[in-house]
Symmetry: C2
Subunit: 173 residues, 2 copies
């Protein structure tokens, strides 16, 4: 059966980044941040950090530096990271797009007047995260948001198709 999990935001407590992303977890005995499995942002950090091979990101707004750092870390250890985002948000305050480009991560951008409004991620071609969640600090700490997590092959097939279609569509001429 397909793993299905749902992440709802905002969290009541702030996730401990070390706990959810470091191989050895959190070593701070007095850590005040959340270590529990019900922390949605923590789960998101964990899913992204565990990427081994490939990460396709198709997200309207990407301004959260923490999440960008994870992508850059993955890229630097050889994971193939591809990012599709919207042009109107490319130069928004805090946009991480230029950082990605400087690091050599492939980014393609919707330059049309319509929105590339998706918010989905495909991890290692076997896990899909999809919902209302943009990669902003506000989405983590305040907004009501959701992400569905699934390994359903039919869904992965559909969203991979959509990713590949947009990747071609936004190819620089």
């Amino acid at each position: 059966t397909d793993t299905v999990q749902t992440l709802f935001f905002p969290d009541r407590e702030v996730a401990c980044k070390d706990y959810f992303t470091q191989r050895h977890g959190c070593t701070n005995q007095r850590c005040k941040f959340a270590h529990d499995a019900h922390n949605s942002y923590g789960q998101l950090l964990r899913f992204l950090s565990c990427t081994c091979i490939s990460l396709e990101v198709c997200v309207y707004t990407i301004t959260c530096a923490d999440l960008a750092n994870i992508l850059i870390g993955l890229h630097n250890k050889g994971v193939v990271v591809k990012i599709i985002t919207d042009g109107e948000k490319e130069n928004a305050l805090g946009s991480q797009i230029n950082r990605f480009r400087e690091e050599g991560i492939q980014v393609r951008v919707d330059k049309s007047s319509y929105f590339m409004h998706h918010k989905f991620v495909i991890i290692d071609d076997k896990m899909l995260l999809n919902g209302s969640f943009n990669w902003t600090r506000q989405a983590v700490t305040g907004n009501h948001e959701n992400l569905m997590v699934t390994t359903c092959p039919e869904l992965l097939f559909e969203y991979r198709n959509e990713f590949d279609k947009l990747w071609k569509l936004y190819e620089p001429k």
Copy 2:
């Protein structure tokens, strides 16, 4: 097994409203609008129109008059319609919230400075639509958007919980 369907936007062609929402379909022999099952907006119109008992709408922006008309039609034939939306969008150009209130539909609004950013709908407590899709004309006709459609009981349970939680949270004092 749980029906899973995915709707991707924009459509290539404009959906025929009669075909997808009227009991007798489209009677215009020269109709120029789309009648095919792959039309995402058509499918959305059909799912909503087929609601029998209850419709819970939890959507950040609602400005599309067509979709609002369907909700009002359902309300007028006895379907229990409940709407949660965001306060910042309540008075946006084309907002349908005041129309809903005038028709006697129950609406609750997030007045906080954060976003109630969900975009999900629960139909007859047995079908969930969730994704990036706000109820705007732009989302139908131009944006790249997605909706997942599922009858998975575990997912319905989680999103029903979220709906009920927010419904209480936004109860007028």
